[in-house]
């Protein structure tokens, strides 16, 4: 898989790409002057997190990345006051994030949003967290200590050439800080009308070099409610612990990290849902001559979920991958590598539904190569492809071509053409309802990969040291999208939907004053999906996803005198068509006051001007997301 590739991108400091577009675009003496001026606008925290190499060639190359990339910084997350990873993703203007209930989210980019959305690839520190059960993410099992997140890179659009199948509409890459950056003790406790939580982390230097941190957290989230005020039984308790050790430097070193979690969630009828799991990852990086480097990574992941009355699953995943990047010729920088992943999945089926066979082994093998060609001083062409095999459809080709033109140091124009696929999951092939024939619903034995062909055109600019923005337009053609084909009395999963979507993603940041930053984002989406003429699907295109046509966000980050911070974020999400969810606006705000060194008190309000609103689902069964207040004390030493 392309996890290594992501890490490489990460290492190379995509960080702050927008606040620091200039650092990345920096060029020449004049630009150096402007870079210097721009650095003066950064906060101490940002300066301290700035990678020195970010102005060197490697990072400059990534700033040229011909992709719709938004970086949520760790500082953004801390200042937003959010308490979960999905809520933090609301900070990315190029994502759709809809909360379904206390633990479930529908998260997507460029449409097809769904509680079982399947076109987004999500990684946490290089570990792929989407489940082969449905090619989506169980968001309730993905967590980390939010204070330790360095950044979240969000790419909307296909990233399959580097990241592999499933990176159809986007890639989310959560990157935590190195252990050497989280020395000391941190303890937090918070309580509000919707949830309570405590967390702690301790980081130390190790004898003989290296650093290690351990963390633990626990939270308790209250149930949500229906529109009529009745309670939904979805209370949730979860605990997680983990560690990360780093030896050497980011460029040449070794990382070992792991997590373990356990949680339980009420469900409307029957016993509580239980979750548990753990993972262990090792990664080695070596710098060779010049910009050349190699990286190898292995991980093991175990995740278990028991949904009484539906099914229980135990999934063990082993993954190994390696990558080599080198200057092949004067104008050619080549990255190539490969990987293998093996997943052992065991499902305990219920009478109501079954994954058959109940035990199965899935495996994926990939090789990829990418060449970055420098064409003169202003043009850069990136050609690459990945070949990835899966047990269902054999080998898939995932090529892309990207070109970037930099007319001057403050501007970048890029265009890309890509092919990406969403390979079948167990849900597409192995699901049967009920568990015994006659089936109402059956996996499609011939279910094939969903295919996207995507054209993108983007423009990024920093017209002044205070203002930067990005605009991306995209046109995607989809084929073989999932449908429910009626065969006799059974619905069989098939691939008879096609269509296209087009849209615009735009965002910008304006540093109004040294202590005041404004950010804004906008999404426009136009989808046109249709069933093919020979389809017997009766549910129509609604099953493919439920997306707003517009979404707007506005954020203000203000530093006040006396070590106080005041942050406000407003968002408008357009109406969802089917099932209909009304458009809504929500305002979140956080006020934080540093009482003394290492002691911070903060108050966060969510949905400040709104008693409650639904974000996803049909009226009879959906939850309302209520106004929330949260008070938190954070102590660090």
């Amino acid at each position: 898989m392309g996890d290594v590739a992501i890490s490489v991108q990460g290492r190379c400091a995509l960080t702050h790409i927008f606040t620091l577009a200039l650092a990345c675009f920096s060029a020449g003496a004049a630009a150096q002057v402007q870079l210097a001026a721009n650095l003066a606008e950064l906060s101490l925290e940002e300066l301290a997190n700035l990678q020195v190499t970010s102005v060197s060639r490697r990072a400059e190359r990534l700033a040229d990345a011909a992709a719709a990339l938004y970086v949520i910084t760790g500082e953004d997350i801390r200042r937003s006051g959010v308490t979960s990873l999905p809520e933090a993703l609301r900070l990315a203007p190029n994502l759709e994030v809809a909360r379904i209930d206390s633990r479930q989210y529908a998260i997507s980019a460029r449409g097809f949003n769904n509680s079982i959305g399947n076109k987004l690839l999500v990684l946490i520190d290089g570990r792929t967290v989407y489940t082969p059960l449905f090619s989506g993410v169980f968001w309730d099992a993905q967590d980390t200590l939010l204070d330790d997140i360095d950044r979240i890179e969000v790419i909307s659009g296909p990233g399959a050439t580097l990241w592999g199948a499933n990176a159809v509409n986007g890639v989310i890459n959560v990157i935590t800080r190195r252990a050497s950056e989280t020395r000391g003790t941190l303890a937090e406790a918070g309580a509000g009308n919707r949830e309570r939580g405590i967390s702690a982390r301790h980081g130390v230097d190790l004898q003989g070099g290296g650093a290690l941190r351990i963390y633990g957290k626990f939270f308790d989230r209250d149930n949500t409610v229906r529109a009529n005020g009745s309670a939904v039984r979805d209370e949730w308790q979860n605990g997680q612990t983990g560690f990360r050790g780093d030896w050497g430097s980011a460029a040449s070193g070794f990382t070992l990290q792991g997590d373990a979690y356990r949680g339980s969630i009420q469900q409307p009828v029957g016993n509580d849902v239980t979750l548990s799991g753990g993972n262990l990852l090792g990664r080695m990086t070596r710098s060779l001559a010049g910009e050349d480097r190699v990286q190898a990574q292995v991980y093991f992941d175990n995740t278990q979920r028991d949904i009484p009355g539906s099914f229980a699953e135990r999934l063990n995943t082993f993954d190994a991958e390696a990558q080599h990047a080198f200057q092949a010729a004067r104008d050619h920088f080549v990255t190539w590598g490969g990987g293998h992943r093996r997943a052992y999945d065991r499902v305990n089926n219920s009478a109501g539904l079954a994954f058959l066979p109940d035990r199965t082994t899935l495996h994926w093998t990939n090789v990829f190569a990418q060449d970055e060609v420098t064409l003169g001083e202003r043009w850069r062409l990136t050609l690459g492809t990945k070949f990835e095999s899966n047990v269902y459809t054999g080998t898939e080709a995932l090529p892309s071509a990207r070109i970037a033109w930099k007319p001057d140091p403050q501007q970048l124009v890029w265009a890309a053409a890509s092919r990406a696929v969403r390979a079948p999951s167990r849900l597409d092939r192995d699901l049967f309802v009920p568990a015994q024939p006659p089936f109402l619903l059956a996996g499609g034995p011939d279910f094939r990969s969903e295919v996207a062909k995507v054209l993108e055109l983007g423009y990024r600019a920093q017209p002044s040291t205070r203002f930067s923005y990005s605009v991306t337009g995209f046109y995607s053609q989809y084929d073989h999208l999932r449908t429910l084909e009626r065969v006799g009395t059974t619905f069989v999963l098939g691939n008879k939907m096609e269509g296209r979507s087009k849209g615009i993603e735009a965002w910008g940041t304006f540093q109004a004053a040294s202590h005041w930053r404004l950010s804004a984002g906008a999404l426009l989406l136009d989808q046109d999906l249709r069933l093919k003429s020979d389809s017997t699907d009766t549910s129509g295109v609604a099953a493919a996803g439920n997306d707003p046509k517009h979404q707007f966000t506005l954020r203000s980050s203000l530093d006040l005198a006396g070590n106080q911070h005041f942050d406000v974020m407003a968002r408008y999400v357009g109406a969802l068509p089917n099932p209909a969810v009304p458009a809504y606006s929500a305002v979140d705000a956080r006020y934080a006051w540093q009482l003394q060194r290492g002691l911070e008190l903060s108050v966060t309000a969510q949905n400040l001007f709104d008693h409650a609103h639904p974000e996803f689902g049909a009226p009879a069964t959906r939850s309302e997301i209520e106004r929330g207040f949260f008070v938190r004390v954070k102590w660090s030493h």
Partner: protein, 181 residues
């Protein structure tokens, strides 16, 4: 008109060519980040009132044995102010009096004679900033360290207190390490 366009195009190409050269050097980036820190520190340190002769007196950052940093700093502070004072950069030579300085940066090239210069600054309301190993032990208040390709810094509070400087908790929160005794 055509000539003007051509000339602009040529200038841009020239800048671009220089860019390629500048970017192969890692050093400037580190220097620029350190320069930005030196300027930023000013907002998070409180000097005794006597440190400024008049309300509009300049905020003076002295740079010793680090010409490239001085250049970066001059670019960075142009038309900027610290706590309402216009910022001035002064290149300092070893042995020169330090009166009038608010910040003194001592480059690595001077590390062999660091103790000598720091001793001269001792007790004065000058924020001493260094980039050398064991500089805090030698009496420096803030010392830059490279870590994970980032520029971080350690702070020695007792040295700052001797200079009657108050360092804000926000600055300390960003420090990699704070020595309190």
């Amino acid at each position: 008109m055509v000539a003007l366009t051509l000339r602009l195009g040529f200038a841009a190409a020239l800048l671009w060519a220089q860019a390629g050269f500048a970017q192969t050097e890692n050093r400037p980036a580190e220097v620029q980040i350190k320069a930005a820190f030196l300027y930023k520190f000013g907002d998070f340190v409180q000097w005794p009132p006597a440190a400024f002769a008049r309300a509009d007196a300049p905020f003076v950052i002295g740079v010793l044995a680090a010409d490239d940093l001085a250049v970066a700093l001059e670019q960075l502070v142009a038309n900027r102010s610290v706590q309402g004072h216009p910022v001035a950069v002064r290149r300092v030579r070893r042995g020169e009096p330090l009166a009038g300085l608010h910040v003194l940066f001592i480059g690595q090239a001077e590390s062999a004679r660091l103790a000598e210069t720091l001793a001269a600054a001792r007790g004065q309301a000058v924020l001493t900033v260094t980039e050398s190993e064991n500089a805090l032990a030698a009496g420096s208040m803030i010392n830059f360290v490279a870590e994970d390709q980032r520029v971080r810094f350690d702070v020695a509070l007792p040295s700052a207190e001797r200079g009657q400087l108050k360092i804000s908790s926000r600055l300390l929160a960003v420090a990699r390490r704070v020595i309190t005794s």
